[in-house]
Structures are given as C-alpha cells and as structure tokens.
Symmetry: C2
C-alpha cells in the first residue's frame, strides 16, 4: 500500500487510518487527540514524510492552521488537490468540495504557478441550522 518509498510502520498505519476514517481533513491537533498513543512530533514527522511522498497534502484552513488530507491519486509528480475547500467559521471544520474543481485563472507575464488553493469561508449546513438567527 505505501510502497511509494515509505516503510509501513505501525505508527504510520495509524496516521493513514485516522485520515481515512475522518470525513474531512484533520489538523495536527485533531490527529493528536485521535492518536493518543503517538507523540505530536511523530505525527508531525509522519505527515511531513507523507507530504514529501505525495501521499497527503496540507491546506491552510483559513484559521492559521494546516489540515491534512489524503491524496486521492497517489501520483508522484502532480499534486492532485485541485478541488475547492470550505471552512466553516462556526465549527471550524474544513470540508472538501470534491466535486468543485478550482477554476484556473491566467497569470500575469513572468509568474510561474506551482500550486493553487481556493478556500471559501462561511457557514456549513449544520451550523446554519444551529445558529438560525
């Protein structure tokens, strides 16, 4: 499974597992309390390794925190994170709008694009219900 040049240790399996189980991308802190047996630094290093190997990618959730998401296509070169993300300002959850592809834009002369990130902030369906003002 993770023979993208990564040794499958028990800890690493756990991290993958946690990311797979979650319905949305997780922050380091969220991973920490789902994986109480692991140290913060181990989780961090695992995530860093996975990012290098293009097994997960990180996105800024608009709250000065990174959230980590499994890459769908485990493609070595291209980052396949091409969908829009949504951050709920109330419950602080980041959602993947997997069906919504980031619309490409043209760049001014001389700029060279590497990755792009489209983040919408607002209220998720649940929180809209709850707040109902």
């Amino acid at each position: 499974m993770q023979e993208h040049g990564i040794r499958p240790t028990a800890n690493r399996m756990l991290v993958i597992q946690a990311l797979e189980d979650a319905p949305h991308p997780l922050s380091l802190a969220e991973l920490e309390d789902r994986l109480v047996t692991l140290d913060k630094s181990s989780i961090f290093r695992t995530l860093t390794l996975f990012r290098e190997k293009h097994l997960v990618h990180a996105i800024e959730n608009g709250n000065n925190t990174l959230v980590y998401e499994l890459c769908l296509s485990h493609n070595h070169d291209s980052d396949d994170d091409t969908h829009v993300h949504f951050f709920c300002e109330h419950c602080q959850t980041t959602f993947c709008l997997t069906d919504t592809t980031i619309p490409p834009v043209g760049l001014p002369e001389g700029f060279q694009m590497h990755t792009s990130n489209y983040l919408i902030k607002g209220l998720c369906p649940d929180c809209q219900q709850k707040i109902r003002r």
Copy 2:
C-alpha cells in the same frame, strides 16, 4: 480620511502609511521592522481595529502567516478583496493580482459563503530569473 469610526492617532497614521507605501501586502513582522517606534501589540491592535472597520483585510499567505492589505473601496459591508493572490515560494512575498478576479464557484446545497480566497503559489518573475536552473 479615517472617519469610518476610527480616531486618527499618530500611530494609526503610521500603520496606514506603511501599508500604502508597500508595493505588496505586509505581514505583522514586516510592519514591525518598518515601524520600529511602535510596539508589536499596538500594530496588532491597530490592524485588528482596521479589519473590523473594513479599512484593511488580512489574507493567509500560504506560509502560515497573515499579510495585511488596504481595502481599495472603503465599503463598510462588502469585503472588496475579490482578487487572486500570488505567493512566491522563494522570496516569500505575497502579490496582489488586482486584475484577476476570483472566479465564482457554485456551492453544494446548504453551504453559505461569506468570503473567498484564491491563492496561487509559485515563483515570481524576479525569483525565476535568479534561480534559473
């Protein structure tokens, strides 16, 4: 000038001035070393106030840092930051692509948008020259 409900103190003028003079949005740290006479917390509080009053807005530069930019239209309600930003991974500078408007996308049922943010990372013209590999 700043009668958007803000008292124009000397410090606040300096902050505005610094933002106006810069060719691109500045981080808190960058403001700190441009405004050595002011304390970090004062700059921070000023920025916070300005954000509330829609005089400046903050964007995450893709590097876990906020950068602050003057609002073009000092419009109380709508946030006018509708252009795409570009972050150079080499010189760590954030550019406003003022001519490039964020293309709107549809949201799944139930999500309510508040603001959106489109950030492209890569190399700026200058750094591309410098690196030239």
